[in-house]
């Protein structure tokens, strides 16, 4: 393997050097994040190779404090002289920003409670470029062969990535982990007459075998595209709405934004002062689990080096806890919940590792069977969500349900309501929970949304 960084043998050395350099330059405390990634991505379109992207990349994100003033820098140049000059500039910049009594590293040094080796399964089978190509080709072939109405393709994409993360601070924390990810996606176009629709499907996971059924990824993308054909609008109305797991995920994602400490201290959440009160239907229980082996959001420590921990966020509809990093915790006289997230050029902020909505009893088919008139939603578009007010209004695609069965595809409609009513209007939770992302939820049936159409 080629040498990854100039002047340093590994991320730990680079981070240790930066922390020393920051102290020499006059910083009273500092932290540093090192990220190394290697990625390869192969795209096949209409049976032939369309694109290969290969890259190896590394970067540093550094935060320095002078008393309680701070500044941050990031760079992709890992030479010692460059880093030392940048750190000096950062210290000079920090001297000019305002002192913020709540700013600073975590109060205490704490070690992770889990060995990162237990978090990320070691892959032993490393795919070659040819195997990436094969999986993508097989997926797309299956999609194109699925139905004569699948007439065009945006291609299938198979990718592998490997990331190493090292984090350290002047409290004495220095730790790292590495994780791999494999993905396969396929996007095809179905057409008939004037109608043309596109849809996709994908799999992603920590082990290469997540891609081992490329035919089913392709077939599913094709089935999704074909079944959208001849979608039409419906009259403006209110109906029970069944969100499939993909769209339910985005719904639950908005909730994590509204319970973050940084939104609370800014007065920017409709869920301010709601801890210990009902915020969702009593059927809903949400857990955060940073220790799912290979989970997309799994991590042994957070973006400030504090240990992550599993916790219940919503228990039978009642909000058990907000989420804090050190900064928002200090501002609100609380303690960090280990939810700091950090990127090279930004942060720390507040975020979630893996979120799980506890599944219910009914399959989506059984949920649908109970609806005489309803809407199944499989895609949401747009940004019409305001977590300050809870106002929600998004474009949607889905299927009209009549007498327990899918009647026809529906497009060019919007769903609108308020998140507070929406979460409390969840009347049924599906049994179809599958862990395939950092936010994981089964199908959710919601009452009270306004549907705009004709």
């Amino acid at each position: 393997m080629r040498k990854e960084i100039k002047d340093f043998d590994n991320g730990q050395d680079a981070v240790a050097h930066i922390l020393e350099s920051a102290k020499r330059a006059g910083a009273t405390s500092a932290d540093a994040l090192y990220v190394w990634t290697e990625e390869e991505n192969v795209t096949v379109r209409k049976g032939t190779l369309e694109k290969i992207q290969a890259s190896q990349s590394q970067g540093l994100g550094i935060r320095v404090f002078v008393g309680q003033s701070q500044s941050s820098i990031s760079t992709r140049d890992l030479s010692k002289s460059h880093i030392d000059a940048l750190v000096e500039r950062a210290v000079a910049m920090a001297r000019q920003t305002a002192a913020d009594p709540f700013a600073g590293l975590p109060d205490n040094l704490e070690q992770p409670t889990i060995d990162s080796a237990d978090l990320f399964p070691e892959e032993t089978e490393f795919p070659t470029r040819e195997s990436l190509f094969d999986r993508a080709r097989v997926a797309e072939d299956a999609a194109l062969a699925f139905d004569p109405r699948v007439t065009n393709s945006e291609g299938a994409d198979c990718a592998r990535s490997h990331a190493r993360i090292v984090f350290g601070n002047t409290l004495g924390f220095l730790s790292g982990y590495h994780k791999r990810s494999y993905s396969l996606s396929c996007s095809v176009i179905a057409s008939e007459g004037d109608a043309m629709e596109r849809d996709y499907w994908y799999v992603v996971g920590p082990l290469w075998n997540v891609t081992q059924k490329p035919e089913s990824v392709g077939a599913r993308s094709a089935k999704r595209a074909v079944s959208r054909l001849h979608a039409r609008r419906i009259p403006t109305c209110s109906l029970p709405v069944l969100f499939d797991p993909e769209t339910a995920r985005s719904l639950i994602g908005h909730f994590t934004g509204a319970i973050s400490g940084s939104a609370l201290y800014r007065n920017a959440s409709y869920l301010k002062d709601r801890e210990g009160t009902p915020v969702m239907s009593e059927k809903m229980t949400l857990r955060e689990d940073p220790f799912i082996p290979g989970g997309l959001g799994s991590r042994p420590f957070d973006g400030e080096g504090l240990p992550t921990k599993p916790k219940t966020i919503v228990q039978r509809g009642i909000l058990s806890t907000y989420l804090f990093d050190s900064y928002s915790a200090r501002k609100l006289r609380r303690h960090s919940t280990g939810n700091a997230v950090r990127s090279l050029s930004d942060g720390p902020g507040v975020g979630i590792s893996n979120l799980i909505v506890e599944p219910g009893e009914k399959t989506p088919e059984e949920m649908m069977a109970g609806l005489t008139d309803g809407l199944l939603v499989t895609e949401l578009i747009g940004f019409g969500v305001n977590t300050v007010t809870g106002d929600y209004s998004r474009g949607a695609f889905g299927y009209r349900i009549k007498n327990g069965q899918i009647s026809h595809p529906v497009s060019e409609i919007t769903l609108a309501g308020n998140l507070d009513d929406l979460y409390r209007g969840i009347v049924e939770i599906g049994s179809d929970l599958e862990i395939r992302s950092s936010i994981n939820t089964p199908s959710l049936l919601v009452e009270g949304l306004r549907i705009s159409g004709e």
Binding site: K6, R45, L49, E50, K51, I52, Q53, A54, S55, Q56, S57, Q70, S71, S72, I73, S74, T75, R76, D77, H82, L86, M93, A94, Q96, T97, A98, A103, N152, I189, M196, R198, R228, T236, R266, N267, A268, S345, I381, G382, F383, G384, N386, V388, T389, D391, S393, R394, G395, F397, S411, E412, I413, T414, L415, A416, N418, R450, S452, G453, E454
Partner: protein, 482 residues
């Protein structure tokens, strides 16, 4: 050549030792065969600084340095792409070699002759502060005064967040034919957002402005006052907002940023890659009527100082003014080199990329509907019952089905041509290929947006602009709650 532009042309050679002779060696050694249609190296060195304020103080400041070289080899529909963050000959050779392997081509050992770097013919954004070395305190003072001004607008303003971000990107595109084009591209944006509270009712308002200039080109006492006033005003208006009606109705869009309609409804659907592959709702429709005869829409990368403008695109092609729709008839697509070649046409200077680490795609620059003849007041007075939308958040489009959305952030309910009351934010949804056929009136008040747009495609973000006169659209779905 002025000494300043000389400095830009020789930047990478001086900084990293990448002389024309070295580049000749690297491109020559890659032994590109005749089946290769295009190959380029994209050098980038970007310095960005950012400041943010909340609770009345500037608590964060920072600087990011980003550098690298993207290597691309194109043969027919195939693309090989790799990048390196080191500038030494070995790393460059490895990146080119990695990109070349994709097409699995034979060797030709054609020698490549690399010329001295040249500057673009146009100069749309003179750079006066290329090293971002204005005193830090000056920038901190700007944000502090925005905070003060916004709080002075109303005692209901309970939170102010403001940010300033400025970058200078130096690029050099080295083409397979040996030509080198170098440019230095500034970009600055200032933003303020406020939260106003009345009892339990909390609402937001925001204003941002920017362009291809350094920070001193954007800051005057008037602009700061205007920004603070606008952000506070919008939040206060929203405190009085009532639930938005739902269903299909007539809508009047105000001038400027509501031009995001054009970006989502037709702009993406006219990008060359989608049309070459036949995946856009606009594919194969050149020469057809796709809009009312009142509509003429252009994409113009040559407007001085605008956020979406560029002297040359990221393939070194000069930007231009491209007519997309003329009097309602579809006239053209937006092209980069690869898609233009495959469609038998020329690049329109729309080949753009987020950075050295991202491949080129056809992207918009500044997408604008030209002014019509109606007075804006007259347009509003014709609205019997509907929505007057003056400000928007983001939008999104499914280019295959043509369905697009964009979300109002300041809008009013109108009856008999009179504004009755503000309504809460709601999403508008429409169908790209027919929404513009429903345009009944076009105002004489075309305005460009204030310079805040960022467009996302395939995970890549690039700065863009939009422009729109007041227009009336008959029949668009409004996603309200009652």
């Amino acid at each position: 050549m002025t000494s300043h532009s000389h400095d830009i042309a020789l930047f990478f050679e001086n900084q990293f030792g990448t002389s024309p002779r070295l580049l000749e060696g690297i491109l020559g050694a890659a032994s590109l065969s005749p089946t290769v249609d295009d190959a380029d190296l994209y050098f980038e060195y970007t310095v960005r600084e950012h400041y943010s304020l909340e609770d009345g103080i500037v608590k964060k400041a920072g600087q990011d340095v980003s550098q690298g070289v993207g290597a691309r080899i194109v043969a027919g529909e195939r693309t090989g792409f790799a990048f390196t963050e080191e500038f030494d000959p070995k790393a460059l050779t490895r990146a080119v070699e990695s990109a070349r392997r994709i097409a699995d081509m034979g060797d030709s050992h054609t020698p490549v002759s690399v010329s001295r770097p040249s500057r673009p013919a146009s100069d749309l954004y003179p750079v006066s502060d290329p090293t971002l070395d204005r005193p830090v305190l000056e920038k901190i003072t700007v944000l502090e005064s925005l905070d003060r001004l916004a709080r002075a607008e109303s005692s209901k303003v309970v939170q102010v967040m403001a940010s300033l971000a400025s970058e200078v990107k130096t690029i050099q595109v080295v083409r397979r034919d040996g030509t080198i084009v170098a440019d230095r591209i500034p970009l600055t944006r200032i933003n303020i957002s406020v939260i106003a509270q009345d009892g339990n009712n909390r609402q937001t308002g925001s204003y941002g402005w920017g362009g291809r200039t350094d920070y001193s080109g954007l800051v005057t006492a008037d602009r700061l006052a205007h920004a603070a006033r606008e952000a506070a005003r919008q939040a206060l208006v929203n405190l009085a907002a009532r639930p938005c009606p739902s269903g299909t109705m007539n809508v009047v869009l105000g001038p400027g940023w509501p031009g995001i309609l054009l970006h989502e409804a037709i702009g993406h659907g006219l990008e060359g890659d989608f049309n070459r592959k036949g995946t856009s709702a606009f594919s194969g429709r050149l020469g057809e009527r796709v809009a009312s005869p009142l509509c003429t829409i252009i994409d113009d990368g040559t407007i001085p100082g605008r956020r979406g403008s560029l002297n040359v695109d990221d393939e070194g092609t000069p930007t231009q003014r491209t007519v997309l729709i003329e009097n309602g008839i579809l006239k053209g697509y937006l092209q980069d080199r690869q898609n233009a070649r495959l469609m038998g046409t020329r690049s329109t200077g729309n080949g753009r990329r987020e950075s050295y680490a991202h491949p080129v795609m056809p992207r918009m620059t500044n997408t604008v509907m030209l002014a019509g003849e109606s007075h804006p007041e007259e347009i509003l007075s014709t609205l019997d019952r509907g929505i007057y939308a003056v400000n928007f958040g983001g939008g999104q489009v499914d280019i295959t089905s043509g369905k697009f959305v964009f979300s109002m952030s300041e809008a009013y309910y109108v009856e008999n041509g009179k504004i009755l009351h503000p309504v809460k934010g709601a999403t508008l949804i429409g169908n790209g290929p027919d929404v513009l056929t429903k345009v009944r009136m076009v105002g004489n008040d075309m305005a460009l947006d204030s310079g805040v747009g960022t467009c996302g495609k395939d995970g890549q973000s690039v700065p863009v602009g939009v422009g729109l006169p007041t227009i009336r659209i008959d029949g668009i779905t409004v996603g309200g709650t009652h």
